[in-house]
C-alpha cells in the first residue's frame, strides 16, 4: 500500500451565521466524516486512510472544536440541519456520509431528513437509538478522560492513540465537547425516540460498523440499525472497542471504500 499524501487543507464555511471549520484532504468521490461527541482531535490516521479513496471533508460539528456554537441548538437534529446545509454550501453530491458515535446519530438524522446528496451511509458505533438491551454509557457520570478510555478495547489502545500523558489541548477539547454534548443530548441521553420510526425511509445503501467489544453504545444498537434501515449491512470488528476507527483505521477505511464501490 502506498502512503497517501499527508497534506490536508483547512477551510471555514458559514452556515446560519456560524463559522464551521472543515478539514479536507484526498481525491476521489466525496466523503464526509462526522466525529464523536468528544470532538475531532485533528487529521487522524483514519482520515488519512480514507483520503486514499475519497475527497474527504471532516467538519468540526457546530459547537465543537473550532466551529462556532449554535446557542439555540437543543438536540442532535438541530446539528443535522446545519450539517446538511454545510453539504449544500460545499456543493457536494454522491457523498459517502460517515458518522461515528454522536456523529453517527447526526448522520442518521441527516439521511432521514434529506438523502438526495448521499450515495452511501456509514454508521460506526452510532448513538441515536435506545438499545433493546443494555444502556448507552453516560459520559456525564464519569471523568471525561475515563470516558474516552472506555471507548478503547484496553488502556494500551488508548495510549497508542493519545499517549500515556494526554496533551492538554486534547483534554481541553474533551472538556468543551462535553459541554456541547450536554446542551444537545441530556435527556434522553444519546438517543431520540423520533429517529427509529424514520429509519425505514433511509434507502441509501448503508454500512453499519461496530466494535465487537463496544462498551459505550451496546451492540444491540448495531442490530437495530441494520434491521431498521431500508438497505443496510452490518460489519462487526472482532475484539475492537467503541472507537474502532481509531483502533483499526486501515481496516475500517477499507470496509468503507469497498462499500462505496459496491
Amino acid at each position: 500500500m502506498t502512503t497517501a499524501t499527508a497534506s490536508h487543507t483547512e477551510t471555514t464555511v458559514e452556515v446560519a451565521g456560524l463559522a464551521i471549520r472543515v478539514l479536507r484532504g484526498g481525491a476521489g468521490p466525496a466523503a464526509v466524516f462526522l466525529h464523536h461527541s468528544t470532538g475531532n482531535p485533528g487529521w487522524m490516521p483514519f482520515h488519512e486512510a480514507l483520503a486514499e479513496s475519497f475527497a474527504l471533508a471532516v467538519p468540526d460539528l457546530p459547537g465543537y472544536g473550532q466551529s462556532a456554537r449554535p446557542d439555540w441548538a437543543r438536540e442532535p437534529r438541530d446539528i443535522a440541519v446545519l450539517v446538511n446545509r454545510l453539504l449544500d454550501r460545499l456543493e457536494l453530491s454522491g457523498v459517502t456520509l460517515i458518522g461515528a458515535g454522536l456523529g453517527g446519530f447526526i448522520a442518521a438524522e441527516m439521511a432521514a431528513m434529506n438523502q438526495s446528496r448521499l450515495s452511501r451511509l456509514v454508521l460506526i458505533g452510532a448513538a441515536g437509538l435506545q438499545p433493546n438491551e443494555g444502556e448507552i454509557a453516560d459520559q456525564m457520570m464519569v471523568d471525561f478522560a475515563e470516558y474516552v478510555k472506555a471507548g478503547f478495547r484496553d488502556d494500551a489502545a488508548f495510549e497508542h492513540v493519545f499517549g500515556a500523558e494526554v496533551d492538554p489541548g486534547i483534554k481541553s477539547l474533551w472538556d468543551f465537547s462535553r459541554e456541547m454534548t450536554a446542551r444537545i443530548t441530556w435527556k434522553p441521553y444519546m438517543f431520540s425516540r423520533r429517529l427509529a420510526p424514520l429509519l425505514g425511509e433511509i434507502t441509501v445503501p448503508a454500512l453499519v460498523i461496530w466494535g465487537e467489544k463496544d462498551q459505550v453504545v451496546p451492540i444491540a444498537c448495531a442490530h437495530q440499525y441494520a434491521k431498521g434501515l431500508a438497505n443496510a449491512r452490518l460489519e462487526v470488528i472482532a475484539g475492537a472497542g467503541h472507537l474502532v476507527e481509531l483502533e483499526e483505521p486501515e481496516t475500517v477505511a477499507r470496509l468503507i471504500a469497498a462499500h462505496a464501490q459496491s
Binding site: M141, D143, F144, R178, E179, T181, A182, R183, K187
Partner: protein
C-alpha cells in the same frame, strides 16, 4: 443584627456502617439508598424540628434550612415541607430557606405557590433564598447543567413576576413557558418575602446578587477569602450606584457552645465525623469532582477568592483553578494537608469555633469585627452530634451567647436586612405586632 440557627440535618445511622472508619465507601453519589431506614428518618426529622422550636425559644431570630439531594449529609431534599411545618409550629422566628435550587425546577410556578403558602401560614415570616445547586442536585433531578445559570435567572424573574404581577398572564421564556399564570396564593409579605442569595464560589452569582441589591450569604467559607468576596460585592455595588453595608452581608459559620471545654471539644470534633458535608475539609466523605464539575455548570474562570481553599475548589471540581489562584503548578503537600483539615487546624483558623460561652464569644466577636455581616447563622448540631449535644448548645446560646452577640452587633453597628432596607439603605420601621 440577625442571628440564625442552622444544621444540615444529617442522616445519622449508627448501623449503616458508612460512617466511622468502617472501610465502606463514603463517596458522595456513590452510595445506595438500600440501607436507608425510614424509621430512623422519622426520628431524625422530628428531632430536627424539635430543635428548631427550641432554638426559637432560646431567642434565635431565624431558623435556616437548606436543600440537597440524593445524599445522607442533608435530609432536606424537600425542605419546603419542613418549612411549612415550622411555619405552623413556631411563632416568631423567620424561616430562612437557603435555598431552593431554582434550576432543577421544571415548573417554578409550583415553587412560587409553595413559598406563598409558607409565607401565609407563617404570617409573613418567610425569607426565601435561591441557589444554583451543586452538580449533585443537577444529577439528582436531571437538570441540564449547561443551562443552570440561565434557568436560575429566568426562574427568579418568573417567580418574582408571578408574585407581583396581577394574573392571569402568559410567560413565554427561553426555559419556562406558561399559558396561564394566575396562582391562587400570594405572598403574605408585600411585595414578597425578602430574597437572600447564598453562595460559595461563583463570581457571576455575587455580581448578579449585588446588581439586585440582595443580601449575599457566604456559607462556611474561610475568613479571608470571605472578606475578599464581600469586597467584590462592594465593588459591583459601587458600579451600580450604591454603597454595600452590613445588611448586604450574611455569614454562616460553625459554632458550638458547651458546658465545659472538654464537652465542647468532644462535641466539636463531631462536626467532621459521621455524615457531614463532604465538601468541607476534614470530613469523612469524598466527592466525585467530575459530577460537581458538570459541563457548563459554572464558569471555568470567573471564580471568587474562595477558590484559594483547596477543599472548596476540589468540591466543585476546580482543582486547576485553585492551583492557578495560589500559584502552584501541581497539588502540593500543604494542599493535601489542608484538604484533610484536622480538627485542630480548623479550630486554629476558626473554621470551627467550639468552647464555653466564655471562650466562644470573643471568637464570634472577632468574626463580626473582621467580616461585618448584618446577618449570621450559627451552624451547629451537625456531623455526628447528638440531640443532647445540640440541646446543651442551644440552651447556652440562649442564656449567654445570643445576648452578648447582640451587644457586640450593636457596638459594631451591624444591621440586618430587617433593620435597613437593602434596596434603599434606609432604616425599616419595626412592624407593629
Amino acid at each position: 443584627m440577625f442571628i440564625g440557627y442552622f444544621t444540615e440535618r444529617p442522616y445519622q445511622d449508627p448501623n449503616s456502617g458508612y460512617f466511622g472508619a468502617t472501610g465502606r465507601d463514603l463517596t458522595d453519589l456513590a452510595m445506595s439508598n438500600a440501607s436507608y431506614d425510614p424509621k430512623i428518618g422519622a426520628e431524625l426529622y422530628n428531632r430536627y424540628l424539635d430543635e428548631k422550636v427550641y432554638a426559637e425559644e432560646m431567642g434565635f431570630d431565624g431558623l435556616m434550612l437548606n436543600e440537597h439531594h440524593s445524599t445522607p449529609f442533608c435530609m432536606g431534599g424537600v425542605m419546603n415541607v419542613e418549612a411549612a411545618i415550622l411555619a405552623r409550629i413556631t411563632k416568631r422566628a423567620k424561616i430562612v430557606l437557603l435555598g431552593n435550587v431554582l434550576p432543577i425546577w421544571d415548573d417554578p410556578l409550583w415553587l412560587a405557590e409553595e413559598l406563598a403558602e409558607i409565607d401565609m401560614i407563617s404570617r409573613g415570616r418567610l425569607v426565601t433564598g435561591w441557589v444554583r445547586g451543586t452538580g449533585r442536585e443537577s444529577i439528582a433531578h436531571n437538570a441540564q447543567s449547561p443551562f443552570n445559570w440561565e434557568r436560575f435567572q429566568e426562574a427568579h424573574d418568573f417567580i418574582v413576576t408571578a408574585w407581583t404581577k396581577p394574573g392571569p398572564f402568559r410567560w413565554e421564556g427561553e426555559h419556562y413557558n406558561y399559558r396561564y399564570v394566575n396562582p391562587w396564593a400570594r405572598p403574605y409579605q408585600d411585595p414578597h418575602p425578602q430574597i437572600w442569595i447564598p453562595g460559595v464560589l461563583s463570581k457571576n452569582t455575587v455580581k448578579w446578587t449585588a446588581e439586585h441589591r440582595y443580601p449575599y450569604v457566604m456559607l462556611a467559607t474561610e475568613l479571608e477569602p470571605t472578606l475578599k468576596s464581600y469586597q467584590y460585592y462592594d465593588e459591583v455595588a459601587r458600579e451600580n450606584g450604591f454603597e454595600a453595608q452590613s445588611q448586604h452581608r450574611g455569614y454562616l459559620f460553625k459554632v458550638h457552645v458547651d458546658e465545659t471545654e472538654e464537652l465542647a471539644e468532644a462535641a466539636g470534633r463531631k462536626y467532621i465525623q459521621g455524615p457531614s458535608n463532604p465538601f468541607l475539609e476534614g470530613n469523612q466523605g469524598n466527592v466525585r469532582a467530575f459530577i460537581q464539575n458538570l459541563p457548563g455548570m459554572t464558569s471555568r474562570t470567573n471564580l471568587l477568592p474562595t477558590v484559594t481553599s483547596f477543599a472548596l475548589a476540589a468540591s466543585r471540581g476546580r482543582q486547576q483553578a485553585h492551583r492557578e489562584a495560589v500559584g502552584l503548578a501541581e497539588p502540593d503537600k500543604q494542599d493535601k494537608a489542608d484538604y484533610l483539615g484536622t480538627f485542630e487546624e480548623q479550630v486554629n483558623k476558626m473554621s470551627i469555633i467550639t468552647g464555653t460561652p466564655k471562650t466562644v464569644i470573643p471568637k464570634v466577636k472577632h468574626v463580626l469585627e473582621y467580616l461585618r455581616p448584618g446577618s449570621i447563622f450559627f451552624w451547629d448540631g451537625d456531623g455526628a452530634m447528638t440531640h443532647e449535644d445540640s440541646m446543651r448548645s442551644l440552651r447556652l446560646f440562649g442564656e449567654e451567647v445570643i445576648p452578648a452577640v447582640r451587644e457586640i452587633g450593636k457596638s459594631l453597628d451591624l444591621k440586618s436586612p430587617f433593620e435597613v432596607d437593602t434596596k434603599t439603605n434606609k432604616p425599616i420601621e419595626p412592624a407593629v405586632q
